[in-house]
Subunit: 219 residues, 2 copies
C-alpha cells in the first residue's frame, strides 16, 4: 500500500490558466480560425489584467494556434491541407521515431504500465462515444512516448505540430465512424513497442500516424 500523499496544488500562474482556457476554446471549436482575439475583451471576461493575457497570446502564437500582426490584430490560426500532409505528418513521425530510437532502454515496466492506463482510458472514451476525450487520450499516448526524451525542445516542436493537426482536424471532421479502431490501433502500437524491432516499429508507427492523421483530415 502506498503511503498517503497530498496531490500537488494546481497553483498555475494566471498566464498558464489563460493559455489553457484559450487553447481549450480553440480546440473545442468555440473559437474558429479567423476569429479575432482582443486583449481587453479577454481580460474583462476573465477578470485578469492585460499583462498575463498578452503573454499567453505570445505563447499561443509560438504553439501555432494563433497568428498576430503588431498593433493590428490577433486571430485564431488556420491550417492548409498540404501543410498537414507534406509537413506536419512527416515531421511528427520523425520526432516520435527520434524519441523511440533514442530511448529504447528507458521503456521499462513502469513505462508500459502508465501507457496501459492511457489505453484503458481510451477504451472507456471510445465506448462512451466521447470523441474529444478520445483524441485527448490519443495525444497523451504519444506524448508519453515523447516524454522519454529529455530535451524539452523536442516536446515543444511536437506539441506545436499536434496543435496544428488538431486545428485542421476540428475544422474538417464532422464524425468519426469507428472509435474502436483507434483503440485497437494503439493496443497494437503498444505491443510492437514492447516486442518489435526498430524497423518493425517504424513501419507500424508510420502507417498509424499517416492513417490516423489522414483519417481525421480527409473525411
Amino acid at each position: 500500500m502506498e503511503p498517503f500523499q497530498f496531490k500537488s496544488q494546481e497553483n498555475l500562474s494566471l498566464r498558464q490558466r489563460v493559455i489553457n482556457d484559450i487553447k481549450n476554446a480553440i480546440l473545442h471549436g468555440h473559437l474558429k480560425p479567423g476569429d479575432k482575439l482582443k486583449e481587453l475583451e479577454i481580460s474583462q471576461q476573465m477578470s485578469v489584467s492585460r499583462g498575463p493575457i498578452r503573454e499567453a497570446l505570445r505563447d499561443l502564437e509560438a504553439m501555432g494556434l494563433i497568428v498576430s500582426s503588431p498593433y493590428r490584430e490577433t486571430m485564431v490560426a488556420d491550417v492548409r491541407k498540404d501543410e498537414v500532409v507534406d509537413l506536419l505528418i512527416p515531421v511528427r513521425l520523425q520526432l516520435e521515431m527520434f524519441a523511440i530510437k533514442q530511448n529504447q532502454l528507458k521503456m521499462d515496466d513502469t513505462f508500459f504500465d502508465k501507457m496501459k492506463i492511457i489505453v484503458d482510458h481510451m477504451k472507456i472514451a471510445a465506448d462512451q462515444g466521447d470523441l474529444y476525450e478520445l483524441v485527448e487520450d490519443d495525444i497523451r499516448f504519444h506524448e508519453h512516448v515523447l516524454a522519454l526524451e529529455n530535451s524539452s525542445y523536442t516536446t515543444q516542436i511536437w506539441s506545436g505540430i499536434v496543435n496544428r493537426l488538431r486545428l485542421h482536424f476540428i475544422k474538417n471532421t464532422s464524425r468519426l465512424t469507428d472509435l474502436q479502431k483507434v483503440v485497437n490501433d494503439h493496443i497494437a502500437l503498444m505491443e510492437v513497442l514492447r516486442t518489435g524491432t526498430i524497423d518493425r516499429i517504424e513501419t507500424i508507427w508510420a502507417t498509424h500516424i499517416q492513417d490516423e492523421d489522414c483519417l481525421l483530415c480527409f473525411e
Copy 2:
C-alpha cells in the same frame, strides 16, 4: 532595372529589439548555455521596463534559445549532440524539401536574382574570413528558400531549429578551415535548384545539410 524603392523603416517594438539584442548576445557567444537571465538586470541595462523584457524572454524560449522555470530562473539553453544529429538535421532537411517541392513554380528570375545577391555577399564574407557573417548569409540563403512557403509556421519551426543548431555550433567550433567551400557549396545548391530534378535536388540538399551541420558540430 528595378524601380527605386525605400527600405522600410526599422521601427521595431521594444520587445522586438530586446529579442534581437539577447539573441545576438547568445549567437555571438557573449552569453553561454547556463548563463542566467534576470529580468531586472536586463531591464536596467537596456533602460526598458520589465514588461517587454518578459515578453521577449517568452519568445526566446519559444525559439529554443533559453529555458525557464516559473518563479525560479531563466537561462541560456543547451543542446546535446544527439539532438543535433538525430533530430535537428533530419527535421531541417524535411522542412526545406517541403518548401522546395511545394513551390517549384515560384522560383522565377527574381527569386534567383535575390539568391545570387546573397551568395555574392557570402563570397565577400568568406574572403574577409568573417565567419559570423558567413553563417548569417548561409542562413539567409536557406531562409530565402523557406520564404517561398506562405505558411509562417513553417518558418517558425525552421528558425527554431536553426537557432538550436547555431547554439551547438558556437559552443563546439573553434575554427572553420575552409570558408571558400561553404560558398562553393551554395553555388552548387543554387545551380541544382535552377536546373535539377526534384530527386537530384533532394540528394544534393541532403548531402549539404548533413555535411555542413556536421562539419560545424564535430570538428
